[in-house]
Amino acid sequence: MSKILIRGARLLGGEPMDVLIDGERIAEVGTGLTAEGADVVEGEGRILLPGLVDLHTHLREPGREDSETVLTGTRAAAVGGYTAVHAMANTFPVADTAGVVEQVWRLGKESGYCDVQPVGAVTVGLEGRKLAELGAMADSAARVRVFSDDGKCVDDAVIMRRALEYVKAFGGVVAQHAQEPRLTEGAQMNEGIVSGELGLTGWPAVAEESIIARDVLLAAHVGSRVHICHLSTAGSVEIVRWAKSKGWDVTAEVTPHHLLLTDELVRTYNPVYKVNPPLRTEADVMALREALADGTIDCVATDHAPHPTEDKDCEWPAAAMGMVGLETALSVVQHTMVDTGLLDWSGVADRMSARPAAIGRLAGHGRPIAAGEPANLVLLDPAYRGAVNPADFASRSRNTPYEGRELPGRVIATFLRGRATVMDGKLT
């Protein structure tokens, strides 16, 4: 593998530095570096971050290859600056056995665009009744550490308790999709002023908060760690803040869309805004941004949820929930967190790379940009401004809520262990 010299990029948004990549690793970081025969990538005016890590990606394969495959999903991830994604378990069949997680893991290896770390289901078939063989998945070639029934809540308190206890044996974590099922039967959108006016069944904040409250208490009780998926309300932030103040091992993620969009958009009845958990209010958005800035929320996770056109080109209640997010996440974070002064670029590196890698116990990702480290990097142009055009997506699906919206920033290059997966903004 040849050498690559990234010249004059601002490391984590700091001073311009040169970074020399040799093979799979960073060989040298400094100023005025030269390297005979190295490909030079101009970094002036650009930001260099460690490759992004997503804790929450739906790659849809096996089973829904009409919306995404491991290949198309990892291509989308690379375009978005990601070098590792956690593939959620709600596939068909469900990733609740060593066989399925190994299949997804192998497909990721073959894709070559981004490391794919499968998430294992907590319960068989995501049905919430019987523990899946968590140990077998942990011991498999996929080395599963994150377990989640995402899409469904592990609502049975005993099953949740046992899962939290059981994964301690192999350093696992249960990532909870916090949604009290009875309080959200038929729920279509955030329960509040807008749902009342629109006549759409509400998804109340308390349905999320009550589960989070229960689960942080359970995690503390059994001395395990719990991760909260796509935290979406101001009340949830308060509970996580309280749990952390107790020293409990609780982590949480927020999606880019919950940092930007509100339930006012549902007034269009356009299902492109239909997502679970639902878009909340302006007050929630502000609380989430603040919590991400102060570290109460550990990381940004995309909840990239591709759906085919026909599942969105319909009336609201008939539509599928979810939005694609891999290719717009960094721009949304820049827009909501960096350009607002809430977070600097090293903070972005922490929330989108280091912390998610740590939560997922993922080796080789989320590392500092330093000599000897794996060359998992993303180079971005923060000055870029452009409207989102879904036709340009590498993802197989187009269900973005940002179509036509001008967002800042653009990924120029992504490096996965020294190999450019994206160069000049294009897949290699």
């Binding site: 009342g196 109340p204 026909e310 319909c314 009336e315 609201w316 008939a318």
Partner: protein, 341 residues
């Protein structure tokens, strides 16, 4: 007026009064020996009903026919819809068949809005009830009824106190009425058990009470909403009897109303639940009159959306392609498409 009628909020005070005044004119047609106007001859009105509602459908059908429109009834049951056809494909089919107006009743809140704004069809869309969202023509016919009894033809409802009682949470009638009656100057009070009021109702332009008896004496009209008995299975209230005791309108409560006050019901009534037979059959109950007003109101809506500003007889769809099959530049269509963007 806008090109579609999706929400009562689409109507300004002047729009609403125009519909009501037009409806009064239309009502006179019903008194003629031949109950028909040539106004919408050659125009096609599709009744697209995804939900069973014989009453509303025949009301729209009668309205369209009295205006000489061609009426196509498309009901979801036994149609391609029950075989899984999407709303979009149904819409494209209706567009290809040359629908000028689509009257849609749908179990999903927002379906008429989607139909009107997704670029699937050019026809005017009339919301005939969507999920638990809105039912604007019901609100218009209710306003017409109230106006006749409480303020007089040609007037708005300034200062009239209207009490709406029952399952507001699931009621499209309540939502549309709150919006329209407020636009017309009325003071609306919603009465329901707290379980049957939506979160956020305090932001609505109306008052809210849990106590029916407290507001009766201050009501010029009381509108009783249909309450589905099944709601008690989801713990919205304990039993039918308890609901009837606390929120039903019986003779005693009716006697507490001011003398001029009317009792309204959008139908179908649950006698013995939200309203007793004594009240339902009393001369103060306008339920049957509301049905009659429904036809004139819907005639007015269809007339104003489809024909109001155009001559009664316009070119037919077959004129829009010339002998070579090329589409001709049809000015009115082009104008309507642009307007919708």
């Amino acid at each position: 007026m806008k090109r579609h009628l999706i929400s009562a909020a689409d109507l300004t005070r002047d729009d609403a009064l125009l519909v009501l005044d037009t409806a009064e004119e239309m009502a006179r047609v019903a008194d003629r020996p031949i109950k028909k106007l040539p106004t919408l001859r050659g125009r096609t009105v599709v009744n697209l009903f995804f939900e069973d509602s014989t009453r509303t459908r025949i009301s729209f059908e009668a309205a369209a026919k009295r205006l000489s429109a061609d009426v196509i009834n498309f009901s979801a049951k036994g149609s391609s819809v029950s075989k899984g056809e999407s709303l979009k494909d149904t819409a494209l089919t209706l567009e290809a068949m040359g629908a000028d107006a689509v009257v849609i009743r749908h179990h999903s809140s927002g379906a008429p809005h989607r139909l009107a704004t997704s670029g699937w069809i050019n026809a005017s869309v009339v919301n005939a009830g969507d999920g638990t969202h809105e039912h604007p023509t019901q609100a218009l016919l209710d306003a017409l009824t109230m106006r006749r009894h409480l303020s007089g033809v040609g007037r708005d409802l300034e200062g009239r106190r209207i009490t709406i009682v029952g399952d507001v949470l699931h009621s499209r009638v309540a939502r549309s009425n709150v919006l329209l009656l407020t636009t017309l100057g009325a003071e609306v009070t919603l009465v329901a058990p707290p379980t049957l009021l939506p979160i956020g109702v305090e932001q609505w332009p109306c008052k809210v009470s849990y106590d029916l008896d407290a507001v009766l004496a201050k009501s010029d009209a009381v509108m009783m909403l249909r309450v589905q008995r099944e709601r008690m299975n989801a713990a919205f209230f304990p039993t039918e009897r308890e609901y009837a005791r606390r929120y039903g309108l019986d003779g005693l409560r009716m006697a507490a109303l001011p003398e001029h006050a009317i009792v309204m019901h959008p139908g179908p009534m649950n006698r013995g639940m939200e309203i007793t037979a004594e009240v339902a059959d009393s001369p103060r109950c306008t339920a049957v009159e509301q049905v009659a007003n429904g036809v004139s109101t819907r005639m007015a809506v269809l007339y104003l959306l489809l024909g109001g500003s155009e001559p009664a007889i316009t070119g037919t769809r077959t004129d829009s392609a010339d002998a070579d099959g090329r589409p001709a530049a049809e000015a009115p269509e082009a104008a309507r498409t642009e307007e919708s963007k």
